[in-house]
Subunit: 155 residues, 6 copies
């Protein structure tokens, strides 16, 4: 890994760490590493909750999303442009925002209805593909709400 | 589980219990627990019908939905914001509201037509995925009616 | 089963029976029962055709649909609101109305074209899911026509 | 089978036969039967081409469709309303009209493009569901053209 | 095969041959046959390229499509109407036009993006159905462009 | 392979090479060949990065796309029209542009949300087809953004 890439990784992890330190509800920061570990991770930022977490409030969920996006924000500010390094962060942040909208009922527009994809109740055999049981209109609302949550968290 | 989480669980179960006590048609309340039971339940509210229930009227169905949403409402009022704890309640309330619209013919807009997903009649083998046999327009009507039932029950 | 539920079952079956008796083209009424039989049926209304029926005219089909909806109508009038007891009736009435529109060519709007879901002709192996071979626009027309048939039968 | 049903079957088969006799391009009529044969057929009208047919012109295809719809037309005129007896005729007429539009390029609106459902060329294994490879807009055009062909043939 | 059908086959193959002879970029014509070969072919027109063809320019592709449609054009002009005989030609011409739009980037409207159906890259096992990875809007653009290519080639 | 085709292959590979040489961020050019290698490749242009690449910035991704499209551009300029030779380049360039929009969050219009097709998290067995978990509206936005990236890279 050349120097430019090492600098980018350092910026990225620092971004995660800064959000963790300055967010009142964030899980405490334990360790930051920019030494590559095998093929999977070029670096990592480790946060561990003080207690076991059985429930997460809306604020705690948004704090987690903000933390995930901190690495990309740091790259944009420090390196002038974003890179492929935020792929995993974006995937996890999207999944969490989608859960907020689809299974936790935390979007006014979509409402309380569970609209996640799931196997049908009666025939939950492994052979069945998941069914999208909502309409295209609801799917569009979900996409808009997910985009809004991520945009606000990144702002 | 720290104190804040315990308080939230207590609020949540109390919300279920209050709806059960004050709804004329609700099944009688038997037990409320806020002691975690294994991984699945942080607490529970047990209601058992006085007799075996073979039929449920429209009012009884709405009362059940209101009871399911009582936990989330109590969290919102007492803890200031909602949490991930209502996930199961929302899933069950959505499923019940969807049945009212799709298989019990209880929505004027969607009408009497059964529009649930089901395996085709002639070839009900296990290998077949369920078919959505209604149009996108009907799916949108169903989503709107389900949202309306839940919003009214939560109000 | 408590008294309220028994009364509802009696109303429901009586509704079926009344339509059967007063419709000129209905199959003759043989037996009405409101004694529960196992888990499946809380009561039943038995109609048997005078002869074997190989063909059903449009009028005979509509009479059958009206008979199926008679139970729900009686519940609504006598008990003040509908219940979950009409689920099977609605499923069968929907299927029959859908056949009128999709395979018997009995809707002017949809026309003569067969638009039912069916396995493809050449490869009718059991492994194939049924194909919806019509457009979303046609699916919407079908839904509207099915709703109209049921609404008119219920009126 | 009661007399009313026998009369209806006779009308239906006579309708097929009349179209066969009076259409210049129709295959010659060989036999008409209104005696039920097993469970499948209540009657039949047999037409056999004078020679082997390797190619069918547009006119010959339309003549076949008209013949298929003759039974239903006769029921409507003679018995006052249509019945379930035309189900097979409608299915075959729809399939033929659909082929005219989708694989024989005989609709100006849809044009010459093949838009039939078919398994992908490279992976034509039996495990694959057929793919609809056209857009919803094209599917709607196909449905409209099929409806027009059938309406004109029935007029 | 009666005389009318023989004449139609002759017209059809002659149509292919004429396009082959008069198109500057067409592969040289080797043989024309109107003697049926088994069940599959009533006649054929054989064109073989002068050299092995590893690349085909846009002009060469359009010439091939024009040749495929020559048989149908000749039937329309000489026999007064088209027949089922052009089915294979239309299927191949459609497939080629679709490739021009979807994988060779030869349509300005659709642009350079590959929008063909294909199995996902990572999980290319045989059990997976092909995925349509473009939107309905793009599918509509593809259909319009394919129709335009065929219409212009037939004009 | 005749001379015209050889000239076309030479143009195509030269196009790739020219972009590689004149782009500041492009991977260094190692070898250009226009000698066919088996059935798969008529020629190739080999670029190897100076260091192992663990991360790619937005600029580096766009440079790669521009390099992939260089072959087609050269054919268009030098040979007067494009050919089938750019098929692989277009497929790879599309895939890269699609990743930029769907998994790297590099499109303002689509935003940060991951919208790639992927197997559901919980049931990642091999039997499941990938699910498109975004709405048609988002799919359309993705297509437009992918087209824009390719058009700008080709300009």
């Amino acid at each position: 890994m050349n120097d430019e890439q090492k600098r980018r990784v350092a910026c990225h992890e620092l971004g995660h760490a800064l959000v963790a330190v300055f967010s009142p509800k964030a899980d405490p920061l334990r360790k930051v590493s920019i030494i590559p570990h095998g093929n999977a991770a070029l670096g990592y930022t480790l946060q561990l909750p003080a207690d076991d977490q059985f429930l997460l409030s809306r604020t705690e969920l948004l704090t987690r999303i903000r933390g995930m996006l901190g690495g990309r924000a740091a790259e944009e500010v420090e390196c002038g442009e974003v890179s492929t390094g935020a792929q995993n962060d974006l995937e996890h942040a999207t999944a969490l925002a989608r859960q907020m909208v689809c299974v936790f009922g935390m979007s006014d527009k979509v409402g309380l209805a569970n609209c996640a994809q799931r196997p049908p109740d009666l025939l939950a055999g492994l052979e069945y593909p998941l069914q999208r049981d909502c309409s295209e209109q609801t799917a569009r609302d979900v996409d808009e709400e997910v985009k809004k949550i991520l945009d606000q968290a990144y702002a």
